[in-house]
């Protein structure tokens, strides 16, 4: 499921299971590329929760995570940060990281 976070509900959204958090900007081109990949992940791997954080709409959360470049991607496993990547290169690299978080 893809959910849009607010500054208020962020912690609630990342506390269970495997969660991919995407700090994104509305006009950022790589963010749009990642958005399509996240939709595909949501369709094919519905047991992965996806949380999107618009950096303009969630300034407190973005500041707390020191988001300087977008997309800024956090992978959570059972409430803990399991991996962190800044930027989106290609789908394969992203999927490799997701596989690592899910199954290692």
């Amino acid at each position: 499921m893809i959910t849009y976070a607010t500054d208020e509900n962020y912690e609630e959204l990342v506390k269970d299971g495997v969660v991919v958090v995407d700090f994104f900007g509305k006009t950022c081109v790589p963010c749009k590329m990642l958005a399509k990949v996240l939709e595909e992940v949501d369709d094919e791997f519905p047991f992965v929760n996806i949380v999107k954080v618009d950096v303009d709409d969630c300034p407190q959360t973005s500041e707390r995570f020191e988001v300087n470049g977008i997309p800024d991607i956090y992978f959570y496993k059972d409430g803990k940060i399991a991996a962190h990547d800044v930027g989106f290169g290609n789908k394969q690299t992203f999927m490799d990281r997701l596989s690592e978080v899910l199954y290692s």
């Binding site: 519905p46 800044v86 999927m95 899910l102 199954y103």
Partner: protein, 278 residues
């Protein structure tokens, strides 16, 4: 410029593949149609596994990776274990069977299975999608959506093929030519480059000296200051070589030119290429 060209390869003599086949594949089209229909998708429990289903499995094996009481796997999704996933289709919920991965037997029990289905796209879905995506403004039917997806995909593939060749021709010219780099000029450009790097890092409150190996890797794709020094030298020499090439053709460096300096190369490659649309 103080650096000099000893020998410059003529870009028109560089060999490259001029004919390219571009295709909007059925898989690509299916993926794009899903963007239309994904808001209407449905998930339901199923009894027998097919590719794309999500299975909850219990695995037993001597290999740690395959010793799990409950694991979610998308059949054929490729994220867990490609070999094991390829043996799941056709098995039923409740069934226990032996699969293998890299020669290791794995006892698999299918605990449950879910399937997501997507409806056939409709003109109404297209209109709703177009209302939210300005690049699809005016696209109101499934047929028009497919045509736009196909046209956009072919344009993307043509552009990508052209860009690949542009890069390859530039690389060929610069690596097969011979330049005499002036030490002072290289040092000046390197200093300017380091200033840019420092300014970029300062934005996030960091300095080059205090970066950890991980931070260097994240910022530059390189993990030691020595490697960074080598990479910057390489990039600076490359930029000087590019400028020498431009000066030899137009009497100006890239920065001094008012328009996109590599337009001549774009135009040349575009003129040489032939596309076969499938």
């Amino acid at each position: 410029m103080k650096s000099r060209i000893n020998h410059l390869v003529d870009y028109r003599t560089v060999p490259f593949e001029r004919t390219v086949t571009v295709e909007c594949t059925p898989d690509y089209m299916e993926g794009q149609l899903r963007h239309l229909t994904r808001n209407f998708k449905k998930t339901q429990a199923v009894k027998t596994l097919e590719k794309g289903d999500v299975a909850v499995l219990s695995l037993q094996s001597t290999a740690e990776k395959f010793n799990r009481s409950s694991v979610y796997v998308t059949v054929g999704g490729g994220l867990f274990d490609t070999e094991l996933e390829s043996q799941l289709a056709g098995h039923a919920v409740g069934e226990t069977f032996t699969a293998t991965s890299a020669g290791t037997p794995v006892t698999v029990t299918v605990k449950s299975a879910m399937r997501t289905t997507f409806p056939e796209p409709t003109d109404e879905m297209v209109a709703a999608y177009a209302a939210e995506h300005e690049e699809f403004a005016g696209v109101n039917t499934v047929a028009a959506y497919k045509e736009k997806v196909r046209a956009d995909r072919l344009t993307e593939l043509r552009t990508s093929a052209m860009y690949d060749r542009l890069q390859a021709v530039m690389d060929y010219v610069l690596t097969h030519s011979d330049f005499d780099f002036d030490e002072e000029e290289v040092a000046e450009r390197k200093a300017a480059y380091y200033e840019e790097v420092k300014a970029m890092l300062a934005e996030s409150g960091k300095t080059l000296e205090e970066l950890t190996a991980d931070e260097m890797l994240q910022n530059f794709g390189i993990s030691t200051p020595e490697d960074l020094e080598r990479e910057i030298t390489k990039q600076v020499e490359w930029s000087i070589a590019e400028d020498l090439w431009l000066v030899s053709l137009f009497g100006k460096t890239g920065e001094e030119m008012e328009t996109y300096p590599w337009k001549f190369l774009d135009d040349y490659i575009r003129g040489e290429m032939k596309y076969i649309e499938k």
